[in-house]
Structure formats: C-alpha cells, structure tokens
Amino acid sequence: MIDVNRKGEVWVFAEQQEGKLNEVSLELLGRARLLAEKLGVKVGAVLPGNKVEGLTKELSAYGAEKVYLVEDPLLAEYQTNSYAKTICELIEKYEPQIVLYGASPLGRDLAPRVASAMRAGLTADCTDLQIEDFQVPKSTTVHENLLQQIRPAFGGNIIATIVNYDRWPQMATVREGVMPLPERNGQLAAEVVKETIKIDTADLPLKILDRHRAQRKVNLKASRIIVAGGAGLGSKDNFKLVWDLANALGGAPAGSRAAVDLGFIDHDYQVGQTGTTVRPALYIAVGISGAVQHAAGMSESARIVAINNDPDAPILQIAHYGIVGDLNDVVPKLIKAIRTKR
C-alpha cells in the first residue's frame, strides 16, 4: 500500500507477449492521457519483458510520456509472480496514483496479485473511467479528483461506480475494446526510464511446457460494419441470412450469446458481455432481443439497426433505426436495397 499521492502519475501496464503489444494497452493510454490531463500529471507506461525496448516507440506514439522499461531475460515469458514483483517494486518507488491494466486473461491474472501484495484496491473489468470528487456518505469529507471506476455488475443488470480513497494506488482492469484507440502520433517521444528489478528463480514458480496461440480468426473489434444474428434466426441454416447481409455490406458476421449457445455461429464471433465488446460504425442486430448482457457489448456502436418481430424487444430501445417485421422478409429486402443502392 502507498499513501495518497496527488502528484503521482497515471500508469498503464504495457502488456506484451513475444514482443507484441496487446492493443488494450494502447487503448488504455488514450484514456490515461485524459485522466492525467485532468489531474495535471504525466502518463507512464510500465513495460516489463526482454528485448522489448523497440516497443517504447509505440507506447510513446499512443500517449505515454514516460516509459518504465524493465528488461531481463527472466522476464521474457510472462509469469504472475515475476511480473507482479516488478510492478510492485516500481509502484513503491514512484508512487503512481492510478495503475490501469487491460482486463485480458493476462491482466486479470496479474492485477489481483499486485493488488493483494500492495493491499490496494482493484476494480475488475471497468467499462469507463472518470475523475470526479467523492463525498463520503453521511459526512462532510470530500475526496477530490478520485478515479471513478465504472463497471457493469450482476450479470450486466447494474452499473456500479467504485472509488478507492485511502489505500492507493487506485487500480482497475479495463475491458478490451471499450476505450477508443487513440490516434497514433509518431512525433511523440516518451522519456524512457530504465529500471532493474532483481528477479530470481523463486519468482518463477511455473514451468511453461508448451503453448499454443491461435491467430484469432475473427477480429470483430476491427470491423467497421457488423451484422449480428440472434436466436430469432431459428436455425443454423437460416443464419446464412446474417452472413449474406454481412457480405453485401462488406462487414463481419457476429452472434449473440443465444446464437452461439444454439450452435448457429462459433464463440469467436460472440458479441456481448461474455464475448467481444465492439463499437463499429454500423451494427445491425437481426433477431436479437437485446438482453443487457448483449447491449453491454455493442451499445456504443455509432449506428444501430435492429430487425425484430417483437415490437417490445429491448434492442429496439437502443437502436437508432428499428424495423419491426419478419427478418426472413426484411433481410432479403435489405440485401437487395444495398446491392442496388437505391
């Protein structure tokens, strides 16, 4: 635990594996910059690894003003304990006021271990972060400029805002794809601070025998246009309508959890709280009722079109364009209209 330190920087854990940065770290730098501007402090990125100095340029380009670079052959492969030790020692030395991690499998493995060792608070899977004052209930005490850690809870039925005013740093993991990727600016150059942390074999309790990383077949996050189908399609055969519409638009097909559970489409294509969070320019929901769990993963799309035969379907509440009708009739009409552009 560190004390409240108003001059502390805003840090982002720069997650890399095999020398490749996870995009969520860059997304976080964008938000970290906004938070840091409000607080009048700098944005730092913490980059542990081996032979990763080249990544400092990328981190600068996306908004890091300082990069804490810790290189060690023993940090070449991620292990919870060695990485946690590295981050804890840096936190103790530099006392940042905020530390953000991607809520990736790696980030969710690492951040709680750091939080426990630091006895600091940690909020999981945030979808938004803001700086605001906090008044302690039933008292006149006000804590200024706290990190408001906003996250869905209870299966997405509520949005909770969490603060952490006494045991710092304020830490949160943030879901992938939720924060917009900032524009890359190759002119920016961060100050690189090289640090050495003593790692020994006791910090490497795991032996990694084998590993397999699939190239993600699907990259929904990068798609400008997404056509998602739900249980309303009725069958895997009929789900072809979703693929056809996506093809007509040059977009990506996707599915709701219900569609995935019914076997209409593979889990890699799932949008929603337990799938991918997307914010495309156009999201067309076909036969999706729009449970909050689904909405949590797509409600920030710039344009939402919903096609549903139930006028009371929740998806119509969040859609910019609602079409109440039989999808088997509407979707072919839509494909035809797109093909003829009239």
Binding site: T80, A84, P105, L106, R108, D109, L110, A111, P112, R113, A115, S116, A120, G121, L122, A124, D125, F134, P152, A153, F154, G155, N157, I158, I159, A160, T161, I162, V163, N164, Y165, R167, P205, L206, K207, L209, D210, R211, H212, A214, A281, V292, A295, R303, I304, V305, Q317, I318, H320, Y321, G322, I323, V324, G325, D329, V330, K333, A337, I338, R342
Partner: protein, 290 residues
C-alpha cells in the same frame, strides 16, 4: 500419493433473476430477494477436487464465507461427495471487497493447514471479478494457475495443467501447494448423490439453528450424528480485524445505477421495400455505408 484439496466456494444470487426489488436503497444488492445458487464455476472446482481424490486418494474440504444461509452450498457439497465442509460466518466480515475476502479465506485455509491444492472457480457470477483466487494465492505465498481447462497430471508434489490464455492455451507445471482457478470447460460437475443427500440433508450449521427452539439440544443431537456443519468466526481463524469487512476493503461503492440503455434518436422503419430503401439511402448519406 494422496492429495488434500481445499475448495473455496461461494453462494451467489442467480444474476439471471435480478429485478428492481433486488436492490436496496443504498444501492447494495439485497441478496435475500434473489434465488441463491452454488456459483457455477465453483462446482467445476469441486468436481475437479473430487476427481483428484478418486484417482489419487486424499481429502476434499469445502470452505465458504457468507451468511448462515450459505450452508446450503455446503450441504450440496456433501451431497456431491465432500469429506468436510466449513462455514466462515461473522458479522464483521460484512461488506468485504475482494481483498478483504481473500484475506479472510486465506486465514481459514491457513488454519486448516496441510493442503496441497486450493481450488476456486474462475469467477463468481455476481461480480465476475476473478480476483479472489489470485489474491488468495498471494496471501498464502503459493503459485497460482488461473483459467485451468484441464488437469493433465499429478506426480508427487508436481502438478501439470493446461490453462486458457484467451486466444490459445499453455501447459504449465508447478510445485505444490498451488492454487487453481477452474473454468467451466474443465469438466461436467457430477449430479448430487441420492444416498449422500438422504444422509446429509439434515446437516445444519450452528448459526442456522441458533434462533430455533431448543437450539442447543438440536445442535448437540446433530453433532452426535456427525451432521453439524463446522463453523468458524473471524476470531477462530485469527483474522486481523483491520483487514476484514468494510475497514479492510479499499474499494467502496460510490453509486449504483440500473441499466437503462436508450438511443439518442430513434426512427421506426417500415418493413417495406420503400422503407428499407430509405434506410439504406440514409446510411449512405451519412457515410455509414459506402
């Protein structure tokens, strides 16, 4: 060789059944208003522990922290085959966040002692944080293997497991004691055993009975039959109160809102050729589609 497994389980409100009535005025969740269930992935953790015992021998102990009502999932653990179950219940544990919870549970595991493998579900469906497992591992000073999909081998004091890394997997090896967080894909939890259910359905914890008439008699009778669920309070696990409950929790809930999502502008499109052509035209006009 035989292994002593400790499973940490949580009774959770069934989040699929949340309604407005389930919220208190202060924004906290009124757990009593929701059906309470065994956290699904904790059942996968229990199943893995039972499978280890079947293959290698040893014991399976299930620990939960919660209100006296959480004894439900301990009974369920007994029906499924747990050897020993322990309820941690104490008013001073109320309002614990993940950090305080992990501290209290780690005190209980330390009191138990002599464990080889600690198992938790990957995450609980009420918070979905997946934090308590890794935080416990840190407090116990042991290695963690999160997102376990498959237990490959146990040999002497070495465990080999496959864990998910999101877009792939890793096969890792660790020395015991070790903490595992188990995914729902790891196994299919067995159903409750009918014979065990008949045997243990009357099992109760002391705090479940304390308001009953003749509570002490009932407790003594159950104890005699081996049906009294073990119960520990924070003093019994030698927990430092500064680390427990509200005081021990750095995170505080500022506010809670129910989710109401609405589009800023909404337009109904008629499901006719003309209506749809108009929509496509608008999307082209505002450069949404090319």
């Amino acid at each position: 060789m035989a292994y002593n497994c400790v499973v940490l389980a949580k009774q959770v409100p069934d989040t699929k059944a949340v309604t407005g009535k389930a919220m208190n005025d202060d924004g906290t969740v009124n757990r009593m208003a929701l059906p309470a269930i065994f956290n699904p992935e904790d059942l996968n953790a229990l199943e893995l522990a039972l499978a280890i015992r079947e293959k290698h021998g040893g014991t399976v102990t299930v620990i939960t922290m919660g209100l006296p009502k959480a004894s439900d999932i301990l009974r369920e653990s007994l029906y499924r085959g747990a050897d020993r179950v322990i309820l941690i219940t104490d008013v001073r544990a109320a309002a614990s966040d993940t950090l305080a919870t992990s501290y209290i549970l780690s005190c209980a595991v330390k009191k138990l002692g002599d464990y080889d493998i600690v198992l938790c579900g990957r995450q609980a469906i009420d918070g979905d944080t997946a934090q308590v497992g890794p935080q416990m591992a840190e407090k116990l000073g042991i290695a963690q293997i999160t997102y376990v999909e498959e237990l490959i081998e146990l040999q002497d004091k070495t465990i080999t497991a496959q864990r998910s890394v999101g877009n792939g997997w890793e096969k890792v090896q660790a020395k015991m004691p070790v903490l595992l967080t188990v995914m729902d894909t790891a196994n299919e939890p067995r159903p409750v055993g009918v014979k065990r259910m008949m045997k243990y359905k009357k099992a109760n914890s002391r705090s479940e009975l304390k308001r009953d008439k003749n509570a002490e008699e009932k407790i003594a009778a159950l104890d005699k039959k081996g049906l009294l669920i073990e119960e520990w309070n924070l003093a019994e696990i030698e927990a430092d109160m500064a680390w427990c409950g509200r005081d021990g929790s750095p995170t505080k809930v500022n506010r809670v809102q129910s989710v109401v999502l609405t589009a800023s502008e909404h337009k109904n499109i008629e499901p006719t050729d003309e209506g749809i052509r108009e929509l496509v035209h608008e999307l082209i006009e505002d450069h949404t589609i090319g």
